[in-house]
Symmetry: C2
Subunit: 271 residues, 2 copies
């Protein structure tokens, strides 16, 4: 079977009135018959998992289950692992992305998510902290503001479902262009994806990304970077970066990760 | 053809009296007939490349060449790329690892090194900054001391020749256990390798690592980690980490990356 979707969401997605993102994810997973497992580990609020169970049930999904991994030993639980083996979709809630990487990193849970997303078509979505955790290089935390500064961002290893992207969330609301540029300047191999709140990137097995939601996605492509001064910048000092390409995409906009082409409206890429 | 060796060196390797590490690397690449390309980009000293050319020539290597990539556009140079296509070995000097990732990251040079190491048996060694750059998750810089502290280490994407290791260098000389533990605590997926000066890890295509040199290699394996508090630690606050396995290996010692087994002396692993 083929690769599943990877769906980072910028946080604060609409859950009641017009839950376009969660509805689209539920449909992708099979609609009424979908089995969706919710991992609320990023959150320290006990009710987070159950809240998402109710939202997915309101959308008609009959099998939504919450799996709370509160300690590393919980990730060995055969019942929880069996639920993940049977799931059509997994949803990672918001909270603190370092809770996800410290609780799940290097455990059978991370291994199942990676293997089944890559080989068995498991779809994996994450919102806010859950979105950050999806990439190989994860923004753990950082400072706000539009200008890149020396040492303003802390990267850590993430789940690794996307090897090409560095993902940031609450992007416009928390003014995070500076920290995304800083993260990309370290090594201009990756593409930056800054997700506004209530906005998701649906990334298909063909590496095409489509925007769903009420905000925008800022794509930062450093593949033609001419120069960056991050190797010389002291902590807090502004960093010079020349030659970055930037796209702002809204609902229906698309970006192809391999060809690095952006399209404003609906309609696919020529392949 | 098969994968080439990856050889991180802890810095300050002996070059005159008894250059055991460089001699072993030259032999691995084919001895007298070896074509070795030196990339001194991490260093800001103009003489670094030529110095290594002379050391390899003194060891009998007839084709040692230095390729200085001073600006990102230099990485497009067809002559330099052809030398890398023909090389048996590549040697990355010390300096600042962020100079390597900012100058080479996302360019054809990084692409050639990755492809030929993985598919065509190109051997790649790096010393000090050059060693750090070899892994997917690179320690860019950090604070000294044996105790892990919140936010004491800055990670950035590296070249990615090793996906399983996080490499640190000048390990005993600069007291870097704390920053290596902090880097591993973020996501206990990786294995930490702390290289003393004049000490190298020869990592073969079979994922077995062998120690060569006058110091030690500290291997930190967090696969049985029970708990870490890095997700709650403020900057500079000590971090609690429970259940890490640690090995100190000297000349001839071996560690197998897949099975995570350590052996003190010479002799191979059962596979």
């Amino acid at each position: 079977m083929s690769k599943g979707y990877v769906v980072p969401i910028g946080g604060a997605e609409e859950k009641m009135r017009d839950p376009a993102i969660l509805k689209r994810f539920a449909k992708l997973c099979g609609g009424r018959g979908a089995r969706i497992a919710i991992i609320p580990t990023a959150s320290q609020l006990r009710e987070t998992g159950d809240k998402y169970v109710r939202v997915f049930e309101d959308l008609g999904v009959r099998h939504a289950t919450t799996l709370s991994f509160e300690a590393r030993r919980d990730t060995q639980d055969p019942e929880a692992l069996e639920i993940l083996e049977q799931a059509d979709g997994v949803f990672l809630t918001g909270g603190n992305q370092l809770r996800l990487s410290t609780h799940i990193g290097g455990t059978p849970v991370a291994e199942v998510l990676r293997r089944r997303n890559l080989e068995e078509g498991l779809h994996v979505a994450g919102t806010s902290a859950g979105a950050s955790y999806l990439s190989e290089h994860m923004i753990a935390h950082g400072d706000d503001g539009p200008t890149p500064l020396g040492d303003m961002v802390t990267l850590a290893p993430g789940l690794g479902l996307s090897r090409q992207l560095i993902i940031d969330q609450h992007f416009r609301q928390r003014d995070r262009l500076g920290r995304l540029l800083t993260a990309l300047a370290y090594n201009p191999t990756h593409i930056g994806v800054g997700l506004d709140e209530d906005t998701a990137a649906f990334i298909g097995p063909d590496d095409a990304l489509e925007v769903v939601g009420s905000g925008a996605i800022t794509v930062v492509d450093p593949s033609e970077l001419e120069f960056s001064s991050i190797d010389q910048a002291q902590r807090g000092e502004p960093v010079s970066i020349l030659g970055v390409r930037l796209h702002v995409l809204v609902q229906g906009g698309r970006f192809h990760i391999r060809t690095r082409e952006a399209r404003p409206g609906r309609g696919g890429f020529q392949s």
